[in-house]
């Protein structure tokens, strides 16, 4: 039991957070709860605090909309949280698509698809290009471009307000991740992930690697959805500083040698580099 907890503690916590948030949102619409109303695009916490998706707000600016005060405050709260504390934690702790893509990645590992096709013929920088493209289209068409196609809001809205044909988009992402590209949606395409990669670069919570304990089993790299951030495994003892790390902590759980763990970024070092 304790090993089960040790091996899956963050996964259980993450699923609890993801599903708990969904439940709060769902309850707000279905049973009139007032803890967390709205959806991930914009919400109202305890009837007072506005929370807004900063990427959606950015697209609104590009589209030429005048931002309301609530949206600005809400987007700032969310941005500050991920910028200072969470890093790219949105992707692995909040986003409902993570349930879909994690399922695909799990099945991919079980079916040993990676050993059949080892090469990933795509660049992880694609997401930043999609991010730029979304802003260009927003600017040119005068609408929030990604919000009209976003499978994230589609699924999240779908769970709260009714899914419609949204299940087809989920299936496409699942199959894409399973057969076409490993961690394809979250790791290559999603501009929201790209946005939070940029925002989360400087956050305090970091995964730390202790080389002395590492036995080079590479279990962490197998399970990591953003393998490139773990370049230091068995090489040096440093924090995982890439913004692309989602702080999902799967690497910490699968490590049997206590070579990985959460840590707070060393501010002293930060200051030195800042000077």
């Amino acid at each position: 039991m304790t090993t089960l907890w040790n091996n899956y503690r963050y996964l259980i916590l993450r699923r609890a957070t993801q599903i708990g948030l969904l439940l709060l949102y769902f309850g707000a619409n279905a049973w009139g709860w007032t803890i967390l109303m709205g959806n991930l695009s914009s919400s109202l916490f305890l009837n007072i605090v506005p929370l807004s998706d900063p990427y959606a707000a950015l697209q609104m600016v590009a589209a030429g909309a005048i931002l309301a005060t609530d949206i600005i405050i809400g987007a700032l709260i969310i941005t500050m949280f991920y910028l200072l504390i969470g890093g790219r934690a949105f992707c692995s702790w909040v986003c409902p698509i993570n349930l879909v893509t994690d399922a695909a990645a799990f099945l991919r590992r079980k079916l040993n698809i990676d050993s059949i096709s080892k090469r990933q013929p795509a660049s992880r920088n694609m997401r930043y290009w999609v991010l730029v493209l979304s802003l260009i289209i927003s600017l040119m068409m005068g609408v929030t471009a990604f919000e009209f196609i976003s499978p994230i809001s589609m699924l999240h809205r779908g769970i709260i307000f009714g899914l419609g044909f949204g299940w087809a988009a989920m299936l496409i992402i699942f199959l894409f991740d399973l057969f076409v590209l490993k961690n394809g949606w979250c790791g290559y395409v999603c501009p929201l992930g790209g946005f939070y990669s940029l925002v989360g670069k400087f956050s305090l919570i970091r995964v730390h690697h202790t080389m002395e304990n590492c036995t080079s089993c590479m279990k962490c790299k197998t399970v990591c959805p953003e393998q490139q951030v773990l370049y230091m495994i068995a090489k040096e003892s440093v924090d995982v500083l890439s913004g692309e790390c989602t702080n999902c902590a799967r690497c910490i759980e699968v490590c049997d040698d206590e070579a990985l763990g959460f840590s707070i970024r060393k501010l002293v070092k930060n200051k030195r580099t800042g000077e």
Binding site: N39, A68, M141, V143, I149, L163, G164
Partner: protein, 263 residues
Amino acid sequence: MENRAVSDRRKFILKMARSAGIAALGGFVWSAYVDEVTASQLLLRPPGAIKEEDFLKTCIKCGLCVEACPYNTLLLAKPGDNKPMGTPYFIPRDIPCYMCPDIPCVPICPSGALDEASVTTNGVLDIKVADMGLAVIDDESCIAFWGIQCDACYRACPLLGEAISVEYKKNDRTGKHAFLTPIVHSNICTGCGLCEKACVTEKAAIFVLPREVAMGKAGNYYIKGWDKGDEKRLENAKEIKTTTEISKDSAVDSLNSDSEDFK
């Protein structure tokens, strides 16, 4: 060395061209889709909604208005609805807007897509000035125009006697009965759709359309000369010179000619 440098450059150019190609293709499909879904004009928005063009860029699609509506009138467009995804709308034949005096759907909007000021009179929320659309009557299928007595829409209207009135007219077919036909007054009607919901015909003979779709525009050439307010529009009127050539023949000649002058 020389050879390798060239091949690196060629690789780089190829890579750039490929990226540009993918971006163009993706951008094309993406914007075509966005264009397609935003082209749908027959949407009825919640009260206080700003102009559709601005609404599409301002609405953040959070659904707080939908949650605030006590009658479950408002819906969020789902994939497959062929409407701008995630934006709120309502179908009056299913559930109309019941025009709550406190308009709960508007103040909760965080983005300003539902504008409180547009449904406020003298600092107080006033649903009567809301403009969700305009009820239009098809007098072919409205049975009141057949001479059958029906005032379902008139009775259902929350602005009873103001937005819809009933006109009396002699029924010449029978010679002894009256037509009692409904008339919508566009300056009062809020487009709530209670009339559409109440209409007894199989497919509603009175239905709400967005105001831009339902109404024409007289333009600046035609002014109600007897109306001081309307005459003010003359101030914005611009002269447009016609390009049609005026016939040089005398007007009297045209009476004697056959149809030559009309060619």
